[in-house]
């Protein structure tokens, strides 16, 4: 936790309402996100109990499993969920765009848009991951045949769950995490996992403080939990009798229909409040303008969606149960790079995030007081354009002479620290030599060199592309490191 965020939490306590920790939205939001609120049966291994799913507030579709311990019914749930999810995914496979690759020598295609799934909380992501795991290896033939849509759903859910581990991806989003990325509440991180309490802090009803609204939201009698776990009292006093009534009515179609309707009514009652909160939360996020680098990250999600759709089309198999050693190392490396670049991108897009780095000395803001945009360095073989500027800042400057700094305003430009001089009133003068981002000539195009009077943020954080690590191909992996992994089944 950065001190800046912690301070925002303290301010939230005092103000009685959540405080912003971002000035722009750091994730892509689809125009038609597929919202999914799942409930699981207590005590079982991820047995679905019910779900509300839909791509608009008035399109909620209720799925119910009257006897979650019954395998057939669980698979029927998966088939029904597939009916809601797969056509939604398919609807993004209309239009593609060409993307140049290999320095423009080739092109590949990706869909211009991609689906986005939203669940209430991280436990919702775990639920989908396990549902994917329990269905993707099912077969439409053999001993226990299932509808072909079931394994396909399983593979797509697995795809989304894996994307959700990728920092900066917006393919599958836990709403609580998206919200706490942008606002700090006056409660702890554990309490923030509870969507109703979180929204209590973000948007308390008039005349109520966030703390009061959150406390009210914690009472499962007035506000059902956002799942997948249900309220034990609900289980014991309402759900269990309704399930028993359904089971007892086995031979009586009329009674059975009634019992089913009662179960639907009960479960809808548990799910609907969360459904409303989901759209309210999305509304709060939508009101923020997107950060400049959000579209770039979403393009990565579109790439991944395109890639997986092609994999499925080509008859590729389901994801393996566990990654082989190389695949796991590659994946870890990719996630680490994504995490680093995501942190930098958010700072570049958002002064409030950059402020966290200013506090730790990784960045400072100052005014340009001198600029020599025409300066040419002719000490080498060829003269090169190396303008110098002087920036005066009131912030502590911890970077040493010789360090390379960057400015989010001109990300392609490097600024080498030439002098750091203490000045009057505790200010610091920093002289920087610029290279890059000024064309190829010996004259800098207008605007490419900061002018006197410009307020500038300089940072050690670089948004530049990091080269990927080298890993052996699977067949070259020594057996001591997992050997050539078994073919994916």
């Amino acid at each position: 936790m950065s001190t800046l965020r912690a301070l925002a939490k303290a301010q939230a306590v005092a103000a009685g309402v959540a405080q912003p920790v971002a000035t722009v939205r750091h994730l892509h939001l689809s125009d038609r996100p597929l919202v999914l609120v799942p409930l699981a049966m207590a005590g079982e291994a991820n047995a679905p109990l019910a779900a509300l799913v839909g791509a608009a507030p008035d399109e909620a579709r209720l799925l119910v499993v009257p006897q979650p311990r019954n395998r057939e019914q669980r698979l029927a749930f998966a088939a029904e969920l597939a009916e809601a999810v797969l056509p939604h995914l398919e609807s993004f496979r209309g239009v593609s765009e060409a993307v140049p690759v290999d320095r423009g020598r080739d092109v590949r295609y990706r869909y211009v848009d991609a689906p986005q799934l939203i669940v209430p909380n991280p436990a919702g992501i775990t639920f989908l991951r396990l549902l994917g795991r329990s269905t993707r290896f099912r077969r439409p033939d053999g001993e226990y045949p299932v509808h072909p849509s079931v394994p396909l759903l399983g593979r797509w859910l697995t795809f989304f769950a894996e994307r959700a581990e990728h920092p900066g991806s917006a393919a599958l989003v836990a709403l609580t995490e998206a919200l706490t990325l942008h606002w700090a509440t006056g409660q702890s991180a554990v309490e923030d996992l509870h969507l109703p309490a979180l929204l209590g802090w973000l948007d308390p009803p008039p005349g109520t403080t966030g703390a009061e609204a959150a406390a009210r939201a914690e009472d499962p009698q007035t506000c059902p939990p956002a799942g997948p776990a249900t309220d034990p009292d609900f289980d014991n006093h309402r759900l269990a009798p309704a399930m028993a009534a359904y089971a007892e009515a086995e031979d009586d179609p009329v009674a059975r229909a009634e019992a089913y309707a009662e179960l639907e009514r009960l479960l809808r009652g548990q799910l609907e409040p969360t459904w409303e909160l989901m759209w309210r939360g999305l509304g709060l996020l939508r009101a923020l303008p997107p950060g400049a680098r959000v579209a770039g990250r979403w393009a990565g999600d579109r790439d991944a969606f395109t890639g997986y759709a092609e994999h499925v089309d080509a008859g590729g198999g389901p994801q393996p149960r566990r990654d082989g050693a190389v695949a796991a190392a590659v994946r870890l490396h990719r996630l680490e790079r994504a995490l680093a670049s995501y942190a930098v991108q958010r700072a570049y897009d958002d002064p409030l995030v950059m402020a966290e780095h200013r506090l730790t000395g990784e960045a400072f803001v100052g005014d340009v007081t001198l600029a020599d945009p025409k300066r040419v360095d002719d000490s080498g073989k060829r003269p090169v354009l190396r303008p110098r500027i002087q920036v005066v800042t009131t912030e502590p400057v911890l970077v040493p002479v010789g360090a390379t700094l960057y400015s989010p305003a001109r990300p392609a430009q490097k600024a080498k620290v030439v002098f750091v001089t203490p000045a009057a009133d505790g200010k610091t003068e920093v002289v920087l030599e610029l290279s890059g981002g000024m064309g190829r000539g010996l004259t800098a195009p207008p605007g490419s060199v900061p002018e006197v009077g410009e307020r500038l943020c300089l940072t050690t954080l670089s948004d530049a592309y990091l080269p990927a690590g080298n890993f052996p191909a699977p067949e070259e992996t020594p057996w001591t490191h997992g050997g050539p992994p078994a073919e994916a089944v």
């Binding site: 702890s188 249900t230 002064p351 402020a355």
Partner: protein
């Protein structure tokens, strides 16, 4: 009755001490620094009732679906005199599966402590499974009986605690929170079993600190066994039990006349509780029945926001204090100099960035 016992009885009110089980003993390790909890737990106060009485009821309900499932899985694993269980445990421990083992159910009788002691300490090396042993531990000077749904397996001359839990292990992984809860509970049993052996003049080290956890595998009902090393949990537990054993030291910090008798007037109870130091942290919400009360009391304290937040705020206690230091409206205490400078810088940067200065 000793003075101490007398005192604890007063604190508890006119009711017998609340019974402990492995879960409640395991919960003792949750917030070891909290005096309030140590005193209430030592006295055996009925904390759920107390919490309810003072208007902050705890929410630790259990779904009957979960209970049913747990019982069914346990019955399944123990079926047929434990043949399947024996195979699972032996294979997991890497010892040859014995041709057979004796199965002794120690549950259900009147003189259980005696029977359990006799059975578990009887000479013998052969493979044996003991179901429902009755174990005991001293908690704050009081003998507490544990009736674990537990099997103690004697294999290759060593005892292993076998815990049967109904949460799934999927592709070799289980919910980490559930595993750590199981680990600390098992540690309670290991400790109690060791005590039983050493009291009978046996070697406590015969009880392995490696516990066998039996759970359903993947999405099936098939059991799978895993090993859990509970050495660390044993240390934590030992330390907290020792602390509670020095109950007189704890009571010295409690005002005379303090009572948590649930029959007392709620306002008086709230008042009384506030005289015994607590140490609220968000973890309490999952571990202690008084959490909602203590959270309410800790409002305005940085600790209530979680340890990482408190640390990021330089360890300053009060939210008001943090904000006053950040605004430069309050002179820092000598030891707060660094924290105050950090907070002032943070406040300035936050205001600057919110005013739209560049990134």
């Amino acid at each position: 009755m000793t003075d101490t016992a007398q005192r604890l009885a007063e604190i508890r009110g006119g009711v017998p001490p609340r019974r402990h089980n492995a879960r409640t003993i395991a919960a003792l390790t949750g917030n070891p620094g909290c005096t309030r909890r140590a005193v209430l737990d030592s006295a055996g106060v009925d904390k759920p009732k107390l919490a309810e009485r003072i208007g902050f009821p705890a929410r630790f309900g259990q779904s009957r679906f979960a209970i049913t499932r747990g019982n069914a899985f346990e019955a399944q694993v123990k079926a047929d005199g434990g043949v399947e269980l024996l195979r699972l445990v032996a294979e997991r421990l890497g010892v040859p599966v014995p041709a057979g083992a004796s199965w002794t159910d120690l549950g259900g009788d009147e003189d259980r402590p005696e029977r359990s002691r006799a059975a578990l300490t009887a000479p013998g090396q052969g493979a044996a499974l003991f179901d429902h042993p009755l174990l005991g531990l001293d908690v704050a000077g009081r003998r507490v009986h544990l009736e674990p749904d537990l099997v103690a397996a004697r294999l290759g001359g060593r005892f292993h605690v076998v815990e049967i839990k109904s949460f799934p292990v999927i592709d070799g992984q289980a919910d980490p929170a559930k595993v750590s809860a199981a680990a600390i509970q098992s540690a309670v049993y290991v400790l109690a079993l060791r005590e039983l052996l050493s009291t009978a003049g046996g070697d406590p080290e015969l009880v392995s600190p490696e516990v066998v956890l039996v759970c359903p595998r993947d999405f099936t009902n098939q059991p799978v066994a895993s090993l859990l090393d509970v050495r660390r949990q044993l240390l934590v537990l030992r330390r907290q039990l020792d602390r509670m054993a020095r109950i007189d030291d704890l009571l010295a910090a409690v005002p005379a006349g303090f009572t948590a008798d649930p029959a007392a007037d709620p306002a008086a109870l709230r008042e009384a509780l506030s005289t015994v130091a607590a140490r609220y942290a968000p973890d309490c919400l999952a571990a202690c029945e008084l959490a909602y009360f203590c959270r309410h009391e800790a409002r305005g304290q940085t600790a209530a926001l979680g340890r990482p937040v408190r640390e990021a705020l330089g360890g300053v206690d009060g939210v008001d204090e943090v904000l006053a230091l950040a605004a430069g409206e309050r002179a820092p205490e000598p030891e707060q100099g660094e924290a105050a400078a950090l907070l002032r810088a943070a406040a300035r940067l936050r205001a600057d960035a919110l005013a739209g200065n560049p990134s």
